[in-house]
Amino acid sequence: MDLYAESILDHAHHPFCKGPMKHPTVSHEESNASCGDSLELRLLIKGKRMHDIRWEGEGCAVSQAAMSMLAGHLKGMTVEKAAHLPPRFVFDLLKVPIGPRRTKCALLCLHALKNALRKLDGEPAQSWTETIGN
């Protein structure tokens, strides 16, 4: 299956939940230094659930589409569940095979989410190895 399937390009061109948020509970930025992709995630959390989510960023179609797809699924999700989302969750949303050279593009959104929630808990950021490995 083609990496640049219509659904990925659709999300890249018309992303979900992209834009500013005035008073997020937590905001966090992650970037892939090797390619210059960056995502800033803003979460509004109420009653231990994701009440609202907004993000801004730039980068390749895969990183932007993955963020858009993930954002569409986060609203209403418990913080507990979001903190334990596995990489498989993102790969399933993308529905195309992601090779090793694009893994970090695909998982930048998850890396940003995990570290936003860790920041909220006052914990140190997790490494890429932890994001990819768990």
Binding site: L3, C35, G36, D37, S38, E58, A61, R101, C105
Partner: protein, 407 residues
Amino acid sequence: MPLDTTAIRRQFPIFREEHPPIYLDSAAMGQKPANVIDAMDTYYQLAASNVHRGMYALADEATNHYEAGREAARAFIAARHRDEIVFTKGATESINLVAKTWGKVNLRKGDAVVLSILEHHSNIVPWLQLKEDIGISLRWIDMEDDGSLRMGDLDVALQDGKVKLVSVTGLSNVLGTLPSLSQIIERARQANALTLVDASQLIAHRPIDVIKLDCDFLAFSGHKLFGPTGIGVLYARSPLLSKMPPFLGGGGMVQRVTREEFRPADPPAKFEAGTPPIAEAIGLKAAIEWFTQHPWKGIEAHEHALLAHAIEKLKQISGLNILGPASADKIAGCVSFTIEGVHPHDLTDILGQAGICLRAGHHCAQPLHERLGIGASTRLSVSLYNTPEEIDRCAEEIRCAIAKLKK
């Protein structure tokens, strides 16, 4: 006499494949002619032995081969003495060696090192480390929009006498522009500053004569010169090498070791602790022998024609912006570009699926990309084995990729 590309390509196993890749990434890694692979293979099959101090024929042979590699490197850059050639594991290690040995004893807080905005991270980070460790400052030579360096910046930097070293690339690994080394070196010398040339890219595109250049240090890697990975060269003038402290400590770099102290060996052994890259030195010699069969005039004319063709084809693609001068007369080796609304990684992923190898990203030159106001670019680099037909196929596939990504 123009280069016979067909004959050249036949000497590369990868290009003899039924469907060879369209390889336009030689700025990152040169492909390997069969004689390089064979020379290394023969050493491993029949002559593997460590260098120095073995009282048997094989050990002598290994030492001779290793030193012959040094002689080949010396001749290639026209250095005076073989002892001025230190083998490292690559240009990165060569520059680090200068920073961590010469820099450590010669630089003090408040001293300055001048770099150009074109530099690769390998010629930035070692100096940033000294900034952290010692408190030296870095001064930068900026560029005009066409990629030419602002020589006035160098003059200003050199005015107060605090600059101890000017360290610049001979050829930008992104823009392909060639700083005027002779001018830079002359001005640095007048200001009593030493000079280091990062010749990582220059080495495979222009002849280098370190005596004529009059530089103090010069660094390059084997793998961009059609040789193996894991070997590089640091050239340094003999008096400098004699005064520099050793780099890594271990076997081979000492004259005498007691329980209290050691006495370092003479250069270049002083900087080559541990078992050196013997097979790699043999491979590097084979690569230099292979490369120097071809006249420089032929190589330069061939690559100029390829770059002129590439620029012409790329210019015809709507939304494509060439970085730097966009003139084959002003560059060598590579040309980089961005395309409006298309991320370089998406582009090169699609090109890769079509068997076309281009590199995308910041090419380890983040300050340059920041200066250009972009996060990443796509680089097309050429070598003596590339053909205009490959450029045509690449341009065609770029159009297809844009159509796909923008639909």
